[in-house]
């Protein structure tokens, strides 16, 4: 599904969201019938603190062109501090990725509360637009397919 009929690149984006704020916020987008791009698929976590940084890398390796991470605003965490821990994790992780040349522009971090249904739609559309402009994350996918690329097989 990388290209549709009009040859516009359709990115695949995975959203990692917390159950209490952003997931509920995305629900609100639905109940408010606000439309957004179909390119994003949401995975529900109890808290942003639960989101393992490795899952982001696995998403890229699996072929995601972009990633959204979103949870409760600071001080709003259902678990009081999960998002603060997550924020630190991302601060370190993001610097590291950037230093290693992994494209952090493809990861959109956001706080979307349960009340921000419209914001969720904006975050999705924004990210889809941006990733669409950037094109597929070919270099990462290529690196992930090391085995497939290097060897030739026959039946």
């Amino acid at each position: 599904m990388e290209e549709n009929n009009n040859n516009i690149f359709e990115p695949r984006i995975i959203a990692f969201v917390c159950n209490w704020c952003t997931y509920a916020g995305a629900d609100l987008t639905g109940t408010s019938r606000i439309k957004y791009a179909t390119n994003v698929e949401i995975v529900r976590f109890p808290c942003t603190g639960r989101i393992d940084f490795m899952l982001l890398l696995k998403a890229f390796a699996g072929g995601a062109d972009g990633i959204i991470i979103s949870g409760c605003h600071p001080n709003d965490c259902h678990y009081t501090s999960g998002n603060f821990h997550a924020r630190r994790r991302w601060m370190v992780f993001r610097d590291m990725l950037d230093f290693m040349g992994i494209d952090i522009e493809r990861i959109r971090w956001s706080w979307v509360s349960a009340a921000e249904g419209a914001k969720w739609a904006d975050v999705v559309n924004d990210t889809v637009g941006k990733i669409r402009e950037m094109g597929p994350y070919t270099e990462y996918k290529k690196a992930a397919k090391f085995l497939e690329e290097e060897k030739i097989i026959h039946e």
Binding site: G62, L147, K151, I152, I153, H154, E155
Partner: protein, 338 residues
């Protein structure tokens, strides 16, 4: 078979011809202060001023990571895909050392003693080894103690020995080697019988004999020497991964959705997990037992079962070791151990 002479300035011409003709040429290339075997496209990129590369050249026949086969699930059926060995490349290994060349001996035995490993054999059959005799050695070299030597031709298809600044002796040892000579016949002249190869070789003292070690090992399974020697060992796999003869591997699955590959990748008997059972029990629970295994395997089990020693004396493991587990030193101690 045949002894030829090549003018030193002709070697490049010859190598250039080889690069032009043979699909893949591997040779030592500088990486930082050390060198590694890499594919070269230009005769000028070979690093001649190193004693050995950090890693051995075994990956040319036994890659670090290789697909054994691939599979795909289609409905209830599963399709299997084999590796297309006909696509393996003919390869010249340029400027191997005698200790590199001789390393293929134990490897070939390991991959053929019961099951004939097709992938290894196919890769190995495509190799032509051009060795350069050693005129220098370092404190880690001990080939003469394990039956080799700086001019040992075993395992090589061609051996070059620099006689002086102008001339290099070329010993053509196999038909495969001859074919490479034929690529550039004009470069070679017949060698004079008087050329004394031995005199230009590096002098490497014999510190012990394999037989001495073999004999000592038979009695020292329970010796405290293993614990003493392995105390500083960190249990990393550096020694095994650079070794020309270590062939331990792990079989892994690379599965994604409905398709995947079975992969063979290097492993090391120095790792704790290497022998760990699912139950939690580990028959080699300490580094001492794993160190013992490493030495025993190379100097006792392999000669007993495969009639070949698992060490070429290249000294790579000693150079790679972060805590200076100098194997020659340890083996000398074993040989002298009462």
């Amino acid at each position: 078979m045949e002894r030829l002479i090549i003018k030193s300035d002709q070697i490049h011409t010859w190598l250039a011809k080889i690069i032009e003709t043979v699909p893949r040429v591997l040779a030592p290339v500088k990486t930082g202060s050390k060198a590694e075997f890499k594919e070269i496209k230009d005769a000028g990129s070979v690093a001649y001023d190193v004693i050995t590369t950090t890693s051995s050249v075994k990956a040319s026949a036994f890659p670090n990571t290789e697909t054994l086969f691939a599979y795909e699930k289609q409905g209830t059926d599963t399709k299997i895909y084999d590796v297309a060995e006909e696509n393996f490349l003919d390869t010249v290994i340029w400027r191997a050392r005698p200790c590199d060349a001789v390393g293929f001996g134990p490897l070939t035995k390991i991959f053929n003693w019961d099951y004939k490993d097709k992938l290894y054999n196919e890769r190995f059959s495509r190799l032509v080894v051009v060795s350069f005799a050693c005129d220098k050695a370092d404190g880690c070299c001990f080939c003469t103690s394990v039956g080799g030597g700086p001019g040992n031709t075993a395992g090589s298809d061609i051996m070059l020995t620099k006689i002086n600044d102008k001339e290099t002796l070329v010993e053509v040892l196999t038909d495969k080697g001859q074919k490479l000579i034929d690529l550039c016949k004009d470069c070679f002249t017949k060698a004079d019988d008087s050329i004394d190869k031995e005199s230009v070789l590096a002098k490497i003292p014999v510190r012990f004999t394999r037989e001495q070690i073999h004999e000592k090992l038979a009695k020292s399974f329970e010796s405290p020497i293993w614990k003493a020697q392995s105390e500083r060992c960190l249990g990393c796999g550096a020694c095994a991964f650079v070794c020309p003869t270590c062939a331990c591997f792990d079989i892994q699955e690379g599965a994604h959705g409905n398709h995947g590959r079975r992969v063979r990748c290097w492993d090391s008997c120095g790792f704790t997990l290497f022998t760990q059972h699912t139950s939690g029990h580990n028959p080699r629970p300490t580094q001492a037992t794993r160190w013992r295994q490493r030495v025993m395997h190379k100097f006792s089990y392999m000669p007993d079962r495969l009639d070949i020693y698992g060490c070429t004396g290249c000294g790579r493991c000693s150079r790679a070791c972060p805590v200076d587990m100098n194997i020659a030193e340890h083996l000398t101690n074993i040989a002298n151990n009462e």
